[in-house]
């Protein structure tokens, strides 16, 4: 399973590196979201700095939607799903591989967006350990839930509209917990954020486990 996961993750990341969709489209979109928030809040630096944790994670969430749609689109084009099914790879390995690829892209994006809020919103990053741990757990949860729902909506003509409806409610607890943990870290009270970190850990574990269990059922279809 792990070997298959590495193979699939490598394949997805190679496709992304060659197509440059993540760097040329998803990353600029994430920055655009940050800029639009500034317009919406009337470039009030005090409000922007205060709300930077929440705005950051909303930008990550929107970008995650694009990354997940892209990840499932790779498999639906040119009958790639059928070839994956016939390849004999473990479905759980395929799921974990796709999660890893999405998570790797999101982590790069999060670093870039972190620099973005420091520059645009005048936010100082404190509590680096909590900030990094939050990013890791939240990314694992978002990537797992996103890949799971991406598989559900794969191949559907209404995928673009259906995926946000399915994924955003599930990702809402991640948004909430990650924002709270970041707010605690940025305010210089990392101990207040540990309970939210635990919630993020539970969320990531549940969706990773569920995805591994359901991967076989989802891959055998269509």
């Amino acid at each position: 399973m792990w070997r298959d996961a590495v193979l699939v993750a490598g394949k997805d990341l190679r496709i992304e590196a060659r197509s440059r969709v993540a760097t040329n489209q998803v990353l600029p979109f994430a920055f655009l979201v940050l800029v639009l928030f500034a317009f919406a809040l009337d470039t009030n630096r005090g409000v922007l700095t205060q709300a930077s944790a929440g705005l950051y994670w909303v930008a990550v969430l929107f970008s995650a939607l694009l990354a997940v749609q892209r990840s499932s689109a790779i498999e639906t084009a040119d009958g790639a799903t059928d070839q994956l099914r016939l390849s004999g790879l473990d479905p759980a390995g395929i799921f974990l591989g796709k999660v890893t690829a999405v998570a790797a892209q999101l982590l790069v994006l999060e670093v870039a967006l972190g620099a973005g809020i420091m520059i645009l919103y005048n936010t100082s990053i404190h509590g680096v350990i909590l900030v990094v741990a939050t990013c890791l757990f939240a990314t694992a949860g978002l990537a797992a839930a996103g890949t799971l729902y991406g598989s559900l909506a794969a191949g559907l003509k209404v995928r673009e509209t259906l995926l946000p409806l399915l994924l955003l409610p599930v990702a809402a607890p991640v948004l909430l917990a990650a924002t709270e943990a970041w707010q605690a870290a940025l305010a210089g009270h990392p101990s207040d954020g540990t309970q939210w970190l635990r919630l993020l850990g539970v969320f990531a574990t549940v969706y990773l486990t569920f995805g591994v269990l359901a991967a076989g059922s989802l891959l055998e279809e269509s």
């Binding site: 559900l152 209404v158 259906l162 399915l166 059922s217 989802l218």
Partner: protein, 244 residues
């Protein structure tokens, strides 16, 4: 199923609903803390609990559909029927809660853990119903929907225990099955029981009706083409069933 059972459930649902309304509006007295607003107790906890039950039935039927040994079309139909009714009950939970919240809390809505989790539950199952509406092969659609239902059901325990896990404006449970008189007096317990029986019967009746509609829709999908061919043949004077 005996042909009298479903009409009997329907009549029972009507009778108990009428009894709960009469008891709630005219017999049950106001409480010292909340006055007449406490009468919403007859409706709100029962519809919320039945919403949980409905989504629980959907999840159980979905699980049975996902397991190859127990996979039957009927489980998928039951899951869909129960989810649809559950969404109605979940929406009613939010509406009745808001009606109560406006005079007691002073707001229609507050970002409390219980309320937010219930709203998420509604949106999750609306997504599930949207997934069900997308045309696909029966097995493909059934499997996708079953997975989506099992993901969505994870919100039910979060919603239920939200008042214990977080500090919420929403009060804790008013019902203690081991000590019924702990939070409520006998008259409120009776009214609550009437509400629970009424809503349970309404749920069962609606699910049975919706399940039958699902069966008819599937039958129409199965036989629709054959019937259309027969109709065209009949127009052309060709005997029905010829050439099959």
């Amino acid at each position: 199923m005996n042909k009298w059972v479903v009409p009997a459930v329907g009549v029972g649902a009507l009778a108990f609903s009428a009894a709960a309304i009469v008891d709630g509006l005219w017999i049950l007295g106001p409480t010292a803390e909340q006055g007449d607003y406490s009468k919403l107790l007859v409706v709100h906890p029962p519809v919320a609990t039945i919403a949980y039950v409905a989504f629980g039935v959907t999840a159980l039927a979905s699980l049975l559909y996902l397991i190859p040994r127990t996979r039957r079309r009927e489980w998928d139909q039951l899951a869909g029927a129960s989810a649809e009714v559950g969404v109605v009950f979940c929406a009613l939970t939010l509406v009745t809660g808001s009606i109560w919240g406006r005079p007691v809390w002073g707001v229609w809505w507050t970002w409390d853990a219980r309320l937010t989790a219930t709203a998420l539950l509604l949106v999750l199952f609306l997504g599930y119903l949207a997934l069900r509406r997308i045309p696909a092969q029966e097995v493909v659609r059934g499997r996708r929907c079953a997975v989506a239902a099992l993901i969505a059901i994870l919100d039910v325990p979060i919603d239920h225990f939200a008042t214990s896990w977080w500090q919420t404006l929403h009060q804790g449970s008013s019902i203690d099955l081991l000590q019924p008189d702990k939070h409520l007096d006998t008259s409120h317990n009776v009214a609550l029981l009437l509400g629970f029986i009424a809503m349970t019967l309404v749920y069962v009746w609606l699910v049975v009706k919706r399940y039958r509609v699902e069966q008819l829709e599937n039958r129409y999908e199965d036989e629709g083409l054959t019937l259309a061919l027969d109709a065209r043949r009949a127009e052309g004077g060709i005997p029905v069933g010829a050439g099959r």
